[in-house]
């Protein structure tokens, strides 16, 4: 007989098989994600880690029979009350066919309702965006190696006075004082009082002599051993750390004039949400700026952005100007990755389109990583053909690869369009 200790053998034998399950379920998860978008629960889906995949995806079929009609008998245990000839109601569901093995063996799991999977958020999003790639990713990854940020890095014995760590310093000082037996001021005071009393009464001369010696020694020590010595000083140390550009700002621009119906805004919202989830996956921090515009543009809260209706005409360039202003004020291009997405029904007041195109080309495109223009239209509007804005942007889009533009008419278009815009470009 051999006894072998296998406990130290390599673990995780099934990691590879687990990966294969994931690969197989990939299609199902991506489908589940798309459904989630259609049902408007994208934010929750993005957070969740437990996915339930329909069992068929991982189902292993085999030929097996089911009892359909006729007669069969089954032997059961645990009869407490039945006698021969008793009649019983059928259990709901018709009762199982084969006996499922008890005990610790391997049961032949037949049909399950769904297969629950615990995925990390990253795994989920990875699947969700399986082949999406950020535009101009190279720049983003390394853009901020020149921005250094000071980071706490322990304690040091030298530094500037503003960085003195008082409690550490005093701890050092106290240890030193105890070590060098520096007398405490109250003790010295007590000695002095005793000496003074004995001197004035003049009774115990011998003791007075001894105390005087003691007092002298204490005073000398007090003078020699300082309260805080330079060697006690402790400073907080900071080390400059190169800061990865882990932040992005996403500008959401939307036309909220009367011509944008609720359903069009809903389409736009979905696109923004998707872009947001996408960016969140890439960057540690994603700021959102919502700019809505009619004839004038203003920055608003998300809630207001999507819900508060406005009336009025449409001047697109106001929103672009607002974007530029906010960007210059708060998001310097050197340390932020800038994304912008504009949603509109394509209407613009005739004379403004020129200005908007010029602003886009000169002020905005040079600093953003990507500018997506989504034209939402309910199906009837498509008949009108090209809109003002579309006509204006189209020639620019040909020149500038950073500008991408697509039309969206229905909910189900959103995801394909998104993929189309951000899909990994096949190397030509």
């Amino acid at each position: 007989m051999d006894i072998i200790d296998r406990r130290s053998n390599p673990h995780g034998k099934n990691l590879d098989n687990r990966q294969r399950v994931l690969a197989r379920a990939r299609g199902a998860i991506a489908r589940a994600a798309r459904n989630a978008i259609d049902q408007g629960t994208l934010r929750e889906t993005g957070q969740g880690e437990t996915v339930t995949i329909p069992a068929d995806v991982l189902h292993e079929p085999s030929f097996h029979t089911v009892f359909t009609a006729g007669q069969r008998d089954v032997v059961l245990s645990g009869n407490k009350e039945f006698s021969k000839g008793d009649r019983l109601k059928r259990p709901p569901g018709g009762g199982g066919g084969g006996g499922a093995g008890n005990g610790a063996g391997q049961g032949e799991g037949e049909a399950q309702d769904g297969f629950r999977f615990v995925l990390t958020r990253d795994e989920f999003l990875d699947l969700f965006f399986e082949d999406l790639e950020l535009p101009d990713l190279v720049k983003n990854q390394v853009v901020a190696t020149d921005t250094m940020t000071p980071s706490r890095a322990g304690i040091s014995v030298d530094g500037t006075p503003s960085q003195v760590d008082m409690s550490r310093t005093m701890r050092q000082s106290m240890a030193r004082r105890i070590g060098l037996r520096r007398p405490k001021p109250p003790e010295v005071k007590e000695l002095e009082e005793e000496v003074a009393r004995l001197t004035s009464t003049g009774e115990d001369v011998e003791k007075l002599q001894a105390l005087r010696g003691e007092l002298e020694l204490a005073l000398r020590r007090l003078a020699r051993v300082p309260w805080v010595d330079p060697i006690d000083m402790r400073y907080r140390r900071f080390t400059p750390v190169p800061k990865p550009s882990a932040r992005a700002v996403m500008f959401c621009l939307m036309d909220v004039s009367g011509s944008m119906s609720e359903s069009m805004k809903d389409l736009a919202k979905r696109f923004f949400l998707l872009l947001h989830v996408f960016l969140e996956r890439r960057y540690k921090r994603v700021d959102l700026v919502f700019i809505r515009h009619t004839e004038v543009a203003e920055e608003v809260e998300e809630e207001v952005f999507f819900t508060d209706p406005r009336t009025g005409g449409t001047i697109v360039s106001t929103a672009l100007a607002e974007l530029t202003r906010i960007q210059r004020e708060r998001y310097p291009a050197g340390s932020w990755n800038i994304y912008a997405a504009q949603a509109s029904d394509g209407d613009n007041s005739g004379s403004d389109t020129h200005r908007a195109v010029a602003m886009l080309e000169n002020d905005i495109l040079p600093i953003v990583q990507h500018f997506a223009y989504i034209e939402v239209s309910i199906s009837a509007a498509i008949i009108r053909g090209e809109t003002d804005l579309w006509r204006g942007y189209a020639p620019l889009a040909e020149r500038a690869p950073k500008l991408a533009m697509r039309r969206v008419a229905e909910r189900k278009d959103i995801f394909p369009v998104f993929r189309d815009l951000f899909g990994r470009k096949v190397a030509a």
């Binding site: 007989m1 051999d2 006894i3 072998i4 200790d5 296998r6 406990r7 053998n9 673990h11 099934n14 590879d16 098989n17 687990r18 990966q19 294969r20 399950v21 690969a23 991982l58 189902h59 292993e60 079929p61 085999s62 030929f63 097996h64 029979t65 089911v66 009892f67 359909t68 009609a69 006729g70 007669q71 069969r72 008998d73 089954v74 032997v75 059961l76 245990s77 645990g78 009869n79 407490k80 039945f82 006698s83 021969k84 000839g85 008793d86 009649r87 019983l88 059928r90 199982g96 084969g98 006996g99 499922a100 093995g101 008890n102 005990g103 610790a104 391997q106 799991g109 999977f117 615990v118």
Partner: protein, 504 residues
């Protein structure tokens, strides 16, 4: 004849295992007369136990997503506390490998050694099913070969191409065994060497078969049918074997992969047919051995109470309210103890039911004979006694779909014993429970349609959705259209038809 205590308390080390093993071995071989494969005991962690589960207890397998799925299922239910892990897993191999969990107490280690390394080991070695269908001395080598071969194919032809064949073969793995007629014992050790020769020969024969096609006129007739059947060896119930040999469009490596799945399926074929006996045998053996250890003073009372507690957990039979089916440990253990009782202290009832063994005074010999020569179905038919039926309070329900209610048509009384025993035994008959599906014909001259027949048992049709999904896999392996008729065994009337075409 008191012997020193093997251990006390719950902690164990390798010395404890060795002492326990030696003491158990003495009882198993000298008192119980068990015949064993050499043992190998491996200590593993709970995570490794999950791995072992995943591969049906095999120490290694080829890579496939279905193992990952099983791993996730076990892991989920284990982590969420729905199920605990088994104390041991034992492999029908020579040497016989038993996995012990490191968390077990000293008593549990002794118990599972007795259970697995002696009970199951003896059963594997002696039961005729295992002797006939499995080759324990070669299985580990063969799995190694399978793993290497599949992995080499993945490198060469891509994971997807291999997975396509594995998926399809797995779906048919229940139909990968020659159930009837003498199976030649597999010589798994030489599989690797023979693989190439066999392939070349098969391809030659196979080409001859199909080369006759262009000239053959589509003339249906009984002679032609007989010819085809002879050429293709029809009817054939071993679907994987048929596809491996005769499917027109497979590459030779694809045939080899089908063969791998088929041979591994054959290795597992006996297990469900002798589950009650196998567990009954192992449980009875461990209980007997542990009792003897206690009687001879080798384990203390605390340890023996732990044994009793553990055994009674394992042999718990929930009532029918909790679902159909018998706990194989409970039924098996009850039958084994009952046989001992019949042999040693028979009642008048036993004498009339079991005249050949009642009071023969050789309980051990009778048990060993039973373990060697029966499977669950025949064992129950032969040895299930009225006393066990009474103890389990068995009753039989008649389910007639033309009636609105179920009828209790037999209970544990003189009228009912035989009916219950016959029915219970039948429910363990694989011939009645597995779908009988055969390849009956191939349209050699036309569109190469493969025709299958399911000879149904009354009222038992194939589950439609699964049947069609499985047929799709079959079509992957055959490459042309498949037609499956479900026919009434008595009248040959066609009850249902499923067809499937390969995609693309």
């Amino acid at each position: 004849m008191d012997r020193p205590l093997l251990y006390s308390g719950t902690d164990w080390d390798y010395g404890t295992l060795q002492r326990s093993y030696d003491a158990i071995e003495r009882i198993a071989t000298e008192e119980l007369g068990l015949e064993l494969y050499p043992n190998r005991i491996e200590v593993i962690t709970s995570e490794q136990m999950l791995d072992v589960y995943t591969a049906h207890g095999m120490p290694l397998t080829y890579r496939h997503w279905s193992y990952g799925k099983r791993f996730l299922q076990h892991e989920n239910s284990y982590r969420q506390g729905y199920s605990s892990l088994a104390y041991e897993v034992v492999i029908n191999s020579n040497p016989c490998i038993s996995y012990l969990m490191e968390e077990n107490t000293a008593t549990m280690q002794a118990l599972v050694i007795a259970h697995a390394a002696f009970g199951h080991n003896h059963f594997f070695r002696n039961n005729h099913l295992f002797r006939q269908w499995t080759e324990p001395s070669a299985i580990i080598d063969y799995l190694e070969f399978a793993r290497t071969y599949v992995s080499a194919c993945e490198d060469r032809y891509g994971v997807a191409a291999v997975e396509r064949i594995l998926d399809a073969s797995h779906a048919l793995s229940r139909h990968g065994v020659h159930r009837h007629g003498g199976t030649r014992p597999l010589n798994l050790k030489t599989e690797e060497k023979r693989e190439r020769e066999r392939r070349e020969y098969d391809e030659k024969v196979f080409d001859d078969l199909w080369r006759t096609l262009p000239d053959a006129k589509p003339m249906p007739g009984s002679d032609k049918l007989a010819d085809r059947r002879r050429l293709l060896g029809l009817p054939e119930e071993n679907l994987l074997y048929f596809l491996e040999k005769s499917s027109p469009r497979l590459q030779s490596w694809e045939r080899e992969i089908i063969r791998i799945v088929r041979l591994i399926a054959q290795y597992f074929y006996p297990q469900p047919q002798a589950k009650v006996m196998n567990e009954g045998c192992a449980t009875w053996v461990h209980q007997r051995i542990m009792t003897r250890l206690h009687e001879t003073g080798q384990i203390d009372d605390a340890a023996f109470l732990e044994v009793i507690h553990s055994t009674s957990n394992v042999i718990m039979q929930p009532g029918f309210e909790y679902g159909p089916g018998f706990n194989p440990y409970a039924l098996g253990y009850a039958m084994m103890t009952d046989i001992v009782r019949v042999c040693d202290q028979p009642t008048a009832e036993d004498k009339s039911w079991f005249p050949d063994i009642a009071g023969n005074g050789d309980a051990l010999g009778t048990l060993r004979h039973g373990w060697a020569n029966y499977r669950d179905e025949s064992f129950i038919l032969q040895f299930l006694s009225p006393k066990v039926m009474r103890d389990f309070r068995m009753f039989r329900l008649m389910d007639d779909t033309s009636e609105p209610t179920l009828l209790v048509d037999a209970i544990h009384d003189d009228d009912g014993y035989r009916a219950i025993r016959r029915s219970l035994a039948r429910s363990y008959d694989p011939g009645l429970n597995d779908a009988d599906i055969q390849v009956v014909d191939v349209d050699l001259s036309g569109d190469r349609q493969l025709r299958l027949e399911h000879r149904t048992h009354p009222g038992q049709l194939l589950a439609k959705k699964d049947a069609e999904a499985t047929l799709k896999y079959l079509a992957v392996l055959w490459g042309y259209e498949i037609r499956l008729h479900e026919v009434d065994t008595d009248t040959d009337a066609v009850l249902a038809t499923h067809t499937s075409k390969p995609a693309g």
